[in-house]
Symmetry: C2
Subunit: 245 residues, 2 copies
DNA sequence: AAATCAAAGTGTTTTTTCAACACTAAACAG
DNA sequence: CTGTTTAGTGTTGAAAAAACACTTTGATTT
């Protein structure tokens, strides 16, 4: 049996999934049932998180959480923050939950947040008893603990990263159309983009490889498929900063 | 006496200071002396760090560390990462140090990193027995623990932040010249900038306020002084992302 | 008092990027 | 064969970026 490193450190994963229409996030339905009456006391949503084992780095723990939920490995994972406010576990539901699960409700837990990016179609969720589902990020209003704050922080980090690094591809299947890529930028950044200008811009990215292959089974002109080349990206990425205050 | 939250969580501060010439960082000279012979076994450098108290948020702890060293409050502080690799304390010197200071050398410590920005001239270091000094960032080659990695990570975060947010002013005294500001960008980003183009660019920043005041005591044409206006910045900052892949 | 030194300050031109905008082409559905 | 739907494609004017050199001002030196 693996030993837990320390009951005051946990890793929370904000697992984003894109389905060509909207950005989703994996959330766990946390139901607290009264032990005596068997009645449901409340139900709310949390991010997917877990403690960290003794022989595990933070990133290993994040990867493990992701693997346990999705069965996927080698998924893009990025640390975006550590959350340690003194009041982060003090909401009434959270206190009840901590007591019910046998933990000290006055304990502090430090959470290190990682976000990861998936094409929802790649995933068949492994529920493992827990009620884990995709929820549209735009519709999430509040979460247990300080998880809403953590989610917003992840979203902000994702947006910023998306603007400067080619990570959008992580949210798409291997082969994708330019319209899908554009939609992704629009959804994540919350903007509308001009189709022609968008295509001009990405035409400059050498690591976006056009394939001799087209969409199939669509009731309109089928789009050309593209894929991302990590090799080309790593060869051509510029190390230097643009000076662009 | 305050209780330490948990001996496996610490906060490390990367305190950057700018002196109009180069970027510096505050480091602690860690000297290990043999208890029996009194001989110095080794001496190396660490970042300034500390554990976190029970009633303290991460940011409070970072602010406290900074205050203890410099006596300054309300200093810009930014979290840039959490470091929890399994091997981060395993170098021989680090092991010896941990043993000598009565700690379990096999313990894992999670460090949350904050960087902060100062004009070196604002600071009179409060040594408090420890040997704390400014070192030019460019000349730091290795540090104890994984602190070199942490420093590089802080530097990267600072550079990125500097490109998109007006945080350069935090590294300068209240009143400064445009040449000093330019030098700051050059030093932090490691680039050379054209004076005229630089001035054209910053002329667009409304929050950079020209004063009716000039440099004194310089053996050349004295430069006009400027200051940063947080108010103007907060009024005019744009919430929207530029789409700039 | 004049000459020298050192950094301040200032414009123009060319190139590149950004933003706005509308029609034709291809596949499937009916 | 017609309609529907999305793919795909260029031009122009405006703004920003990049390249580039001389004059001004105050303090210091002679």
């Amino acid at each position: 049996m693996k030993k837990v490193l320390n009951n005051t450190i946990s890793v929370d994963c904000v697992i984003f999934g894109f389905d060509f229409e909207k950005l989703n996030v994996l959330l766990v339905d946390r139901v607290l049932v009264d032990e005596k009456t068997g009645k449901e006391l409340f139900s709310d949503l949390t991010l997917t998180g877990n403690h960290i084992f003794e022989d595990e780095s933070l990133e290993d723990a994040a990867a493990r959480i992701l693997f346990d939920l999705t069965g996927l490995e080698n998924i893009y994972l990025k640390q975006f923050g550590a959350f340690g406010d003194t009041e982060r576990l003090l909401k009434p539901n959270d206190q009840a939950w901590l007591r019910a699960s046998g933990r000290d409700p006055h304990s502090r837990i430090l959470s290190v947040g990682y976000y990861s990016l998936l094409a929802t179609e790649k995933v068949t969720l492994k529920w493992k008893g827990r009620n884990v589902k995709w929820y549209p990020v735009a519709e999430v209003t509040d979460l247990a603990f300080d998880h809403y704050t953590i989610l917003q922080s992840a979203l902000q980090a994702l947006r910023r990263e998306l603007l400067y690094e080619p990570i959008g591809f992580e949210l798409l299947p291997e082969k994708f159309t330019l319209s899908q890529l554009q939609k992704l930028y629009e959804v994540v950044l919350g903007v509308e983009l001009d189709k022609r200008n968008f295509r001009k811009k990405i035409a400059r990215m050498k690591y976006l490889i056009p394939l001799d292959e087209k969409q199939k089974g669509v009731a309109h002109k089928p789009a050309r498929l593209y894929m991302f080349s990590r090799e080309v990206y790593e060869k051509t990425r510029k190390e230097v900063f643009d000076f662009n205050i």
